[in-house]
Symmetry: C2
Subunit: 489 residues, 2 copies
């Protein structure tokens, strides 16, 4: 076999083109074979099928680039839970925009590494522009806001707690029961005390309980609030919480991984009032920003707040190089080698602009309200609450939590829908996290029909006779999948 | 503007194709404009040029997908330090294979997230196959080796220290002066004592000093050894170190981020004798594996050793879902959302096979020996030592460290070459880290001519008259860039 060609250089595009043709064909063929939001059969079946169709990962003799790409990309696509399908709506798992995925190819081909200027001359300039731009959206009133790019909300939350630890020593974190699991995991990682967890009735932090905790606890404190919870999509009363932390001299971190992009919508940004009062803010653009993973951000009101991340490695940022003007990038992350996630984000922001992004955000939130309307009007479905962002919790009436969990797993096993689950008000709910701006009212109708039909078929205890509902068509051809190939609308 | 199309679904490839055409054109045009390994002018010039050509990151009205892709990808490419250019050889900054970059597009388009099965049905199966395959290469003698995928060696080293902390509590780390900076940074992150640093004469850990440290220190100990150091590419005496840690009851971690892939070369795998005796092994396939960042691995001899990473988040791995057979992925990383880096790695391994990978590795190590030969034979260059892997340290004769640093920065500023720097034996050396298997003897000749010519031009103190050397041609057209577009050869 000749030495395989590289992606870079002036010849790279020529070598990439036929390989990309193979990838695009495999993406299409795999999606056609799947013919739905995820493969049917459940984990054992899917794993077996994936393994038998892909063959050994490391054969003695290679199968060649086109064969390997065709085989593995087709298998991955056929076996994907594809967030571009309107019935794949379990998690904060976004369908990426085509333009963001295309931009990401350039990151892979050029492979700038963001740990030193001489690996990323233009990429580091672009990243600096992007992080300053995003930080200014969050902190419009401070002269030198800044941000670092992370692998996601989890790493951003870790960094927020790390910065607080470096400001104060081993401080006590306070979060509510609605906080992301990464807060507790970060305290474990960083050797900090476990968080004090205060109640979150109806899914938001209870300010009275926070006041009590701030009054009772001693020593340096960090409150972490959430703007867009994982379970219900609710936003804590940020401004009220900021009043309390200011009064009590506690630090405030806001995990706005989900809700943060609402800042870009004139219609919805009022939901984030008080965000700029936090010492640190987490933001994920691989949620309401339609980026391929990963595209996390941690923002701070002043670039000096990032000083604890500064780090010295003579081969990357020797003193005399830094003095001679070579930018020192190592303090922009705890990682060393680092992919230029700034590129796809910058391409998306520039291509869509403020108005285009606001339109995408507003459109997505509208789909969530529409789904909530349909559930509210449905005789056999119960809505948990009107959505704050784009998360809709619901459950069939007259059933129990075990059955709700069974409905979810049945939809997964049959390849009909990917719905999430959440506990709220002491009960288990089905969760639809809507991030696909192309979803239509017809998609919602079909989804709810799938749920009510599955509820009926899996019911083991007597229940009120359900209203007749159109059964979902068999897997092939399946009417609920006819919309899959139709984006954009 | 219509709602921008998504990358997924059956229609995704149709929407991606014209956008990818724009990206490929921009990659080509940017590389042609750069016309060398990196842009000339140094940081201020490159940053200014990048900013003025790209325009605002977040305009009020979007510029549209093709315009944004063309503008930003061209700027990123024109301003790249492109590791596909044979004179871009400073760091462990690999030129990605075209087939790996093409596979990575599918990861971006499908966006499986590796934190729950219902976001990554086939991707999680593929990742499990890949991690088991790689772990078995490292630990061929244990029944259940396993590995997790990381963002790179830095995260893998952090995890190794975290696992050791969870086994033993706040243990003492011992590393040599040649260890990667991430070891010390990980102890800081994890709240562990700073490492005890023992000498590394000639770039490798001194076993006598290790013996003394193991004899002197009390309490649980973790020794971290290195297989492929950043400065000289040397490999610590792994088997000897494993003997010492076994005798003294200390744990052993081996950072084989750079050297690990030598396992796949029958010619060179003997360099890693003893690797399998470590409790944890770090491996980066974005170094000697030609992957776009990132592609890190942490391997363990038994999958139970990863248990401390297990973590519970009811929305991702509820007990009844796990009991019902839904795989629990959350314990495979400290991250939550996680890109499927397994895909590009698996495509590369399957396409090339063992023999293809061995050929790439052997070819790359041969280029390093060839460069070392040329330096050894050169009257005005001094070679530090024969390369162990593919790192070659050298310096002009009769000069001082300040001048060596100036030569490196001058080559960078002029856009002629990206060379690294390393301190060894009390002096500063130029460092060529060779990872490009397409590099030819002619490329090496031109590189050394550039260095000697730059040394002459920047010399401020009298020195022996240099042998006449052909001056590098002016930046455009530049003879040293004629090879850029010629891969594969």
């Amino acid at each position: 076999m000749p030495t395989p060609p590289l992606a870079g250089g002036t010849a790279g595009p020529t070598h990439l083109r036929p390989l990309l043709d193979t990838v695009l064909t495999a993406l299409h063929d795999g999606a056609t074979r799947r013919n739905g939001p995820l493969p049917a059969g459940g984990p054992d079946t899917v794993t077996h099928h994936t393994r038998t169709t892909t063959g050994p990962v490391l054969p003695d003799h290679g199968t060649g680039p086109h064969h390997a790409l065709r085989t593995l990309v087709t298998a991955l696509t056929e076996g994907a839970a594809d967030p571009a399908h309107p019935h794949c709506a379990a998690h904060l798992h976004t369908p990426p925009l085509a333009l963001a995925a295309a931009a990401d190819l350039a990151a892979s081909a050029l492979n700038p590494s963001m740990d030193s200027w001489d690996q990323a001359p233009a990429a580091s300039a672009l990243e600096a522009d992007l992080t300053r731009t995003l930080a200014t959206e969050i902190y419009p009133h401070t002269p030198h806001p800044d941000a670092v790019i992370t692998t996601g909300g989890t790493e951003a939350n870790q960094l927020a707690l790390l910065l607080a630890r470096e400001r104060h020593g081993p401080l006590q974190t306070i979060c509510a029961a609605n906080a992301h699991h990464s807060i507790t995991r970060a305290t474990w990682l960083l050797g900090l005390p476990r968080p004090v967890v205060i109640p979150a009735p109806r899914g938001v932090m209870d300010p009275t309980a926070l006041h009590d905790a701030l009054t009772t606890l001693t020593g340096p404190l960090l409150v972490t609030a959430t703007a867009g919870t994982t379970d219900t999509g609710r936003i804590d009363p940020l401004d009220h919480i900021a009043d309390l932390t200011t009064t009590h001299g506690a630090d405030l971190h806001i995990d706005a991984a989900y809700g943060g992009p609402l800042l870009l919508s004139p219609t919805h940004r009022h939901l984030l009032t008080g965000l700029h009062r936090a010492h640190t803010v987490t933001l994920d653009l691989h949620k309401l920003g339609w980026q391929p993973a990963s595209a996390g951000i941690l923002a701070v009101p002043d670039h000096h707040h990032l000083t604890p991340l500064h780090h010295h490695a003579p081969y990357l940022n020797a003193d005399d190089d830094t003095e001679a003007g070579l930018p020192d990038l190592l303090g922009r992350s705890l990682r060393t080698t680092r992919r230029p996630d700034a590129l796809k984000i910058a391409v998306t922001l520039q291509a869509l602009g403020r108005d285009g992004l606001a339109d995408l955000i507003d459109r997505t939130l509208t789909t969530a309200h529409h789904l909530a309307d349909l559930i509210d009007q449905h005789p056999h479905l119960q809505l948990y609450a009107r959505p704050t962002i784009s998360t809709v919790l619901f459950r069939p009436t007259g059933t129990d939590d075990t059955h709700v969990a069974t409905i979810r797993r049945t939809l997964l096993d049959q390849g009909h829908a990917v719905l999430g689950r959440a506990h709220a008000d002491g009960r288990l709910w089905l969760k639809a996290t809507l991030l696909n701006p192309h979803t239509t009212p017809e998609d919602h109708h079909r989804l709810l029909t799938l749920v009510t039909h599955t509820a009926t078929r899996t019911r083991t205890t007597p229940a009120p006779a359900p209203r007749p509902a159109a059964p979902p068509a068999p897997r092939t051809p399946a009417p609920h999948t006819t919309t899959e190939g139709s984006n954009p609308r």
